[in-house]
Structures are given as structure tokens and as C-alpha cells.
């Protein structure tokens, strides 16, 4: 469906006194999103994950690499020709409070794209009122009651309901891919699972593929089976594989730091014995010839300072962990970019897992 090959994006900033500075937002990201599949990107603020989401929806350009949608290379096309491919990819924004126009009712918000879509498809039995039917259908699909929601303004809905309206709006143009950029981070914890369940449902019922961008690793587990997880750091993917593989047996120190930062439900979970944290805060300005994470890495060696690691399959260099997965079964092979990968138990463990079940 979507294939990204070495996407890069560089920004130039011109300070008033400091001269030109180059910011590498993305340094060659590649991934393949199959039809109905799911790819999650995790990373901290400023790692380039939002830039990636914008590039995938055509809101931002890329200056290197290639984006292939349905087998068509987009960089060769003129902007007008690209539009029809980007229409198949729709974005769910982070903040449902600012993503909806406060002066328009939900009916107006959904009506415009639906009418446009109906004109595009031509008059296949679509009367003037057909879009309203479709709006009701979509709202029901996202778990809202059409009659109650249509006449309302965004401020009359709760955060969870608004996010569902945003999803319904994304679905008006019959997309094949949804990009969810921090789609649940502004929503109450109690409502998050509902939205995640809906995204999973859309995958299985409509076959929509999903790109899930988040800083909260735990939510990436809830978008459904067969999902891949890519850990992105300063614009570079440092570890990737099947979501469960990466979460349960991370080998890159950055992934391990991220997973260590996930709060432990004390009483229900025990912290992992090898919990770790970066030695200092992120500073995008540090330039290093070696590993990008080296300045913050608790396990860095001299070699890390000089040699830039690239993604290699786990176990290929003899340092692997789970012997069972070392063969790299299937397409989603567990890969990492670390010179000294080591398994560390950083994820919380359920208290009495298995033994004293309820």
C-alpha cells in the first residue's frame, strides 16, 4: 500500500546572528505498510515522528528518498497529480479540541467532504440527500448516535466523542490508510482504549491500514495483530520488529530507556530489574560522527563515538537474545542499530503472572 524508501527531510534555520543551521528531521526512514497492516512509530518529542506523519499525508515535502503509494512513485509526479494519491491517506490529528471548527456543527463538518466525494464518484444513484445517509452511517461506524451528534457543535461533545468525529471525518473520503498522530494522548486515560479499539476495528472491518505515531509505547500494543513497531530517534529508526518482539525483548538502549519510562502499576506490576534512563536530556545540536544516541547512552563505549551503526538483523552478529527468533521469521524481522546490543529486562512484570490468576 505505502512503501517508504529512505525518506529524508532537512530543515534550514537562519538565526539572526548565528548563521545557518541544518536540522535533520528525518535521516532515511524506510518501511512498508501492507494493505490492512499497521506500523507504529514511537519516540520522544522532537524525534521527527510528526514530520513523518505530515510527509505521508502530503502536508510536508521530503527532500530525499522515495514514497511509493499503490506502486506509483510520488516524487516523479506533479503536485496536482499527487493529490489523488494523498487523498487515500487521511490524518487523525492529535488534539480533538482544535481539529474541529468550533463554529460549524458536526453536520456541516461532515457534509462538505461527503458532498465533494459524491460529486467525484458521479451520479451513481446519489440523490441530493444521500450524503446525509452516509454521514449517519459513518457516525454509527465510529460508535456515535447520529441523531444526537449531527446538530451539535464541537464544544458540546466530550474529548472522546470529538476524536470519534475526527475519525468519521477522515473516513468521509474513503481512505485506505489512516495516520494517527498521537491520536489518544489528549484523551482521558479511561477513554483511550475505546478509541484504540475503534482503530483496530476499522482495520479488521474495512481493511484500512494504520500508521500509529505515539510516545506512549503501551498504546501501540492495542492497535491490533501483526503490527510492526519502529523506534525512531533523531530522525533515524534505531530498532524495529513486530510490536510484541520489540516490547518484550528490546535490545537497543534507547528502546530500553523508553520502555523503562513507562509507569509501573505498583501492586499489579513489578518494575523490570534492569530499568535504565538516558544519562542526560536530548540536545539536537550535538553532532556526532558515531551513534546518535551515544551522548545519552548509559552503555556507550569508545567505538560508539566513532562508528555510526546501521540497522542489522538481531542475532546476525552473535549478540542476539531469544534464540527462537534469531532466524528472523517472516517479513517483520527484528532489527536494531546498536553496536553492543544486549537484552535487558526493563519492562514491568505482572505480579504473580500466571501463578495467582484471578
Amino acid at each position: 500500500m505505502i512503501e517508504a524508501r529512505g525518506i529524508t527531510r532537512t530543515y534550514q534555520t537562519h538565526g539572526q546572528f548565528t548563521g545557518t543551521r541544518t536540522v535533520h528531521a528525518l535521516r532515511g526512514v524506510d518501511f512498508t505498510l501492507p494493505e490492512g497492516g499497521a506500523v507504529s512509530f514511537i519516540g520522544e518529542s522532537g524525534c521527527g515522528k510528526t514530520t513523518l506523519g505530515k510527509i505521508l499525508t502530503g502536508l510536508e515535502t521530503f527532500d530525499g528518498g522515495e514514497l511509493v503509494v499503490d506502486g506509483v512513485e510520488l516524487s516523479a509526479l506533479k503536485p496536482r497529480q499527487r493529490a489523488k494519491y494523498f487523498r487515500r491517506i487521511q490524518m487523525i490529528h492529535q488534539d480533538p479540541y482544535s481539529a474541529l471548527n468550533p463554529t460549524r456543527t458536526i453536520e456541516a463538518t461532515l457534509g462538505d467532504p461527503l458532498r465533494m466525494r459524491a460529486r467525484e464518484k458521479g451520479g451513481t444513484g446519489a440523490g441530493p440527500g444521500a450524503w446525509r445517509e452516509r454521514a449517519c452511517e459513518l457516525l454509527t461506524l465510529v460508535g456515535l448516535e447520529p441523531e444526537a451528534v449531527l446538530p451539535k457543535y464541537p464544544h458540546q461533545l466530550s474529548g472522546g466523542q470529538r476524536q470519534r468525529v475526527v475519525i468519521a471525518r477522515a473516513l468521509t473520503v474513503d481512505p485506505q490508510v489512516l495516520i494517527a498522530d498521537e491520536a489518544v494522548s489528549m484523551i482521558d486515560v479511561s477513554m483511550r482504549l475505546g478509541i484504540l479499539g475503534l482503530l483496530r476495528d476499522l482495520r479488521s472491518r474495512l481493511g484500512i491500514s494504520l500508521v500509529f505515531i505515539t510516545h506512549d509505547v503501551a498504546t501501540a500494543r492495542y492497535v491490533g495483530d501483526g503490527g510492526e513497531l519502529h523506534v525512531i530517534y533523531r530522525g533515524e529508526v534505531v530498532e524495529r520488529g513486530l510490536t510484541d518482539d520489540v516490547i518484550l525483548s528490546p535490545v537497543h538502549p534507547y528502546t530500553q530507556c523508553l520502555l523503562s519510562a513507562v509507569p509501573i502499576m505498583r501492586g499489579l506490576e513489578e518494575p523490570g530489574p534492569d530499568r535504565t534512563a538516558p544519562t542526560r536530556a536530548l540536545d539536537e545540536r550535538t553532532d556526532t560522527p558515531g551513534c546518535l544516541f551515544e551522548p545519552r547512552c548509559p552503555f556507550a563505549t569508545d567505538e560508539c563515538f566513532t562508528t555510526h551503526p546501521t540497522l542489522v538483523p538481531l542475532g546476525g552478529d552473535g549478540a542476539g537474545v531469544g534464540a527462537g527468533e534469531a532466524e528472523g521469521v517472516g517479513a517483520a524481522e527484528h532489527q536494531h542499530a546498536c553496536l553492543n546490543p544486549a537484552a535487558r529486562r526493563v519492562v514491568g512484570v505482572e505480579v504473580g503472572a500466571g501463578a495467582a490468576g484471578p
Partner: protein, 338 residues
Amino acid sequence: MSEVQVRGLTVEYQTSAGWLPAVAGASLDLRAGEITGLVGESGSGKSTLALSLLNAVPAPGRIAAGSIEVAGVGDVVRLTGRQLRKVRGGELGYVFQASQNSLNPLKTIGKQLLDLGRSHEVSDLRALIARAKDLANRMGLDGDRVLDSYQHELSGGMRQRVGIVFALVLNAKVLILDEPTTALDMLSQASVLDIVRKVHDENQLSTLIITHDIGAISEIADRLAVMYGGRIVEDGPLLDVLRRPTHPYTKALIGATARITGDVDAARPLPGRPPDLTTVARVGCVFRERCPFAVAACADTEPPLEAWEAGRRRACHVEPSTVLAGQPGTPAAVGEPA
């Protein structure tokens, strides 16, 4: 030993439908040396409760009933004018929700600190600056650099720490943090939580953390109070409440949290939507519409918050053992889904 005692606190807001309670008859103790977590969904009244600890409920709200006794200060509800201003930021340190946005963008942090000192009539401003630097250094910030910075030069996590410095620099004994980790990414969240625990222990504070994220709070709190529809529905020692939640809401909230361990399919979203000021039930239990255990009594009588075991309180008609044993069955969901 309680540093702060909230008793029968009712806070109302004026709406077109009359005065409606956002907090109704809440009672809560903040004990010396303990971190209390107050958890609730948006609209549960948790921020209103926190603001009333400063007697700072914004118009059109008012504290209609109840008392808030702070050790060494007296009843905050009765304070006015100068006395009240001295207590705010003095004995009671408050870190505001989105403290990123509560700093003045036109002044350096140091200048704002001096403003704080002058308004509290601190005679030795040099000592104040020294103390602020010391606090900042202990939180892993570079004190000198931070005081010379404008707020836009600091990251989200750093601003949150500056908020904590401001709250503690006048030797507050009580620290209140409203949503300290919302809008921070996982790594900054973990370091801010670490720092809160550290300054709490070092200064022997009584800390109240308000949040909607039961996962984040469970990392550092000693006690947990759960709020729903303006009522505190359950409280007790954190580990015990997490292991044995006896209010159906607490149980549902724990079950609805996205976690990194455990069975993905076992997690269930809470049905229905949280009530707000106008939709909260006037008679009976406020949670009954979303409650899988609701019985007939829930519709007409509001359950009082009562101790059922040493150190544990709950407000529910159903027996604790039933809730503990009960499977989270299909709840009688009424109204629209969230």
C-alpha cells in the same frame, strides 16, 4: 497527622440552570510526608477541588460549604485579602496545570522569582535566589542558566521543574500539582515524577497530585483517592487500592488503562461517558448509569463515603466482596458511547 484536612467541601458553579455542585461534600486528608494521588476523568471536579485548597475557585464558582484546615494556617475558606495572598505560594505551593503556559513570556525566570519574593515581602532576596538555584540544581537543572532564561528557551519538562521551584522556594509545606505530566513525553514524564518524589522526600512535604492517568500516579503516590462526578468514591493506601479496588469505578478505571504487560484483550474501555456539571445524577449514586453492579438502591439513595476497613473508605451500596469477586460483565450502559 494530617497537614491538610478537607471536610464536607462543596463547590458550586453558577450556570443557566442555577448553582450546580462541581464538588459535593468531599472529605480528604493530606498527611504529612505522604504523596496523595487524586484520580478522576475530565469533569470529575478534581481541578476544582485543588483550586479550592487555595481558596481560588474562579468566578462564577464559589465554595458553598465545608472547611479546609491547613496546619499552622487555619481554615483557608475563611481567609481573605492579604492573609490569603500570603498563604497562596507561601504555605501552599501550587504547580499549575500546563505550568508550561503559566510563566510570563516577557520576563526571565529570575525576574519572575523576584516578583514572587517582593509580593510575599521577603526581606532577603539574595537568599531567595540562592535557594531557588539550589532547588533547581537538585532537580538536575543548571540554576544559573535557568534563572537567566525566558520560558521559551526551556523544554516542557524543564518548565515543569521551574514550576516546582516556584512552588517550593518560599518553604511551602504543602505541594499541589495539577496534571504535572500531561503534555510531556514518556521520558520527561518519568524524570518529572522522579523529581517530585525526590523533593517530596527531601523537604518532608505533604503532596497532592491530580491526574487522570492512574498509571503515572501509581508510580509514586502513597495514597490514592478516586473522584467521580464531584464525589470522592474511594480512597486508601495506593498499593491496597490497586490490588483490591472495591468501588466499581476504581475497578473499571484500572481495567481501562493501556498497559505494557498483561493481556491486551483483557483490557476494557469504560462504557458511557463521564458526567459533567449538568448531566451528573442529582439523586442516587453518580456512577450507577455506567456501573455493572448497580442495584435498586443505587437509583434513590446516594451512598455515603464510609470506612469499611482500617484506612479504606468507599461510597457504594454493593458489598466490597461482590465488587472484588465480580467479573466485569456487560454493564448497563445508558446514553451515548464516549
